[in-house]
Symmetry: C2
Subunit: 215 residues, 2 copies
DNA sequence: ATTATCTATAGATCTATAGATAATGC
DNA sequence: ATTATCTATAGATCTATAGATAATGC
């Protein structure tokens, strides 16, 4: 696993690295719930400290500023997304319905992480430029996983051949369809179950991939 | 035209309605630029007043609170979107490539309004619940315009028949593909021109609509 | 004696308003 | 005399830190 210490980029006053990791996780877990509920700007550092069960003073031993917390939260979320998507990949090792399986697994990850994905859409802009960039890189890496699958299926003949750009854009489309379930949930959730959504969108993607040449 | 006074919902101390309309437009125009650049929360009411060329005191004669300004800004944006999309519709009155024309026009509207659409994605959550709901209704109304076109094309035989839900979801997909150009622009813009994007996505949507039965 | 944590608060904002002034219309 | 605008600021936060205290390890 890529168990890199994602926390390592953020400076701290505290010497014990295990403690740093533990406390930061604890703070991030408390913070993300507040960010989802009230948004980043309306959440105060005091509220985060209280929800994490530490003092405001301690909180600032583990982070330099409020934005640091948001960055770590985003990073944790992407890390979990990536893990989920990677796992989803393993369930699709070729065959006619390989793509359908991948889509199902990916959409289920989005469904499970709905609130978190939405928060990233809303709050990425609140990060300092340097870290905004990193968040976008994470986003791109996850899309890249999908590109990889499509390329393999295309090569193995389980999907019709299409040029590289077309494959890439299809991957973006699938990724965004998963996100769409989170940011249009206020509508979609009223009219479709997640199973309906998976079924209909999978059919649409398959037509999109195989259509126009009657395979 | 639906020249309802969209401003009418927000109370004001000022008696002259024309003046209210004019000043609010002036304030909203200044505010939206700041919101796009710095985000809603990092923009202060003083900055808005200064950019609009009035005093902070006057500003509060036309709005009760900062959130009011954001709401009006969102409403203006949706109003312009709707107008753009409605106009786009008129260019597609049937025939084989009717859908392609609609998609092109719609994507061009998104391209033109890129920054504004992105802002709505990011800041809708900053609105009070009551107004969040209205913004989502606006969003739905615009999607409804697309549903209408697809339904008509489906009925006239210019598109294969499909059930209602499938049509509805296709409309959402097209709408979101337009938005995707705005919120993935940091990546897409580096690899595709808007023309590339329109061409590839139109092909994808057409396969999605006509695929699987080789029409 | 070193490391981690806490309390208390400095300092910097920012929203929204009160009360004074200027502009407009009869 | 009514309506619109401005200046100046009350009042309420909120972030981040300084300095004091508690816990840990040798």
């Amino acid at each position: 696993m890529q168990r890199v210490n994602r926390t390592a980029t953020i400076p701290t006053q505290v010497k014990n690295p295990d403690l740093v990791e533990r406390r930061r996780r604890q703070i991030a877990d408390a913070a993300v719930r507040l960010f989802i509920e009230r948004g980043f700007h309306k959440t105060t550092t005091r509220q985060i400290a209280r929800a994490a069960g530490i003092s405001i003073g301690s909180l600032y031993e583990y982070f330099n500023c409020k934005e640091d917390i948001l960055y770590l939260v985003c990073d944790f979320i992407h890390s979990e997304m990536e893990q989920g998507v990677t796992q989803a990949m393993t369930k699709a090792t070729g065959g006619r319905d390989a793509l359908a399986k991948v889509i199902r697994e990916y959409f289920m990850v989005c469904h499970r992480m709905s609130d978190f994905i939405l928060m990233i859409y809303q709050e990425t802009q609140s990060l300092p430029g340097q870290w905004q960039k990193r968040v976008l890189e994470n986003e791109l890496r996850i899309t890249g996983l999908l590109v990889g699958v499509l390329a393999r299926l295309s090569q193995s003949g389980d999907l019709p051949h299409r040029d590289e750009r077309s494959i890439e854009l299809t991957a973006h489309n699938i990724v965004v369809m998963g996100h769409m379930w989170t940011f249009r949930r206020w509508f979609l959730g009223k009219h479709y179950s997640i199973e309906d959504y998976i079924k209909l969108q999978t059919a649409a993607v398959l037509r999109m991939c195989t259509g126009g040449q009657g395979k």
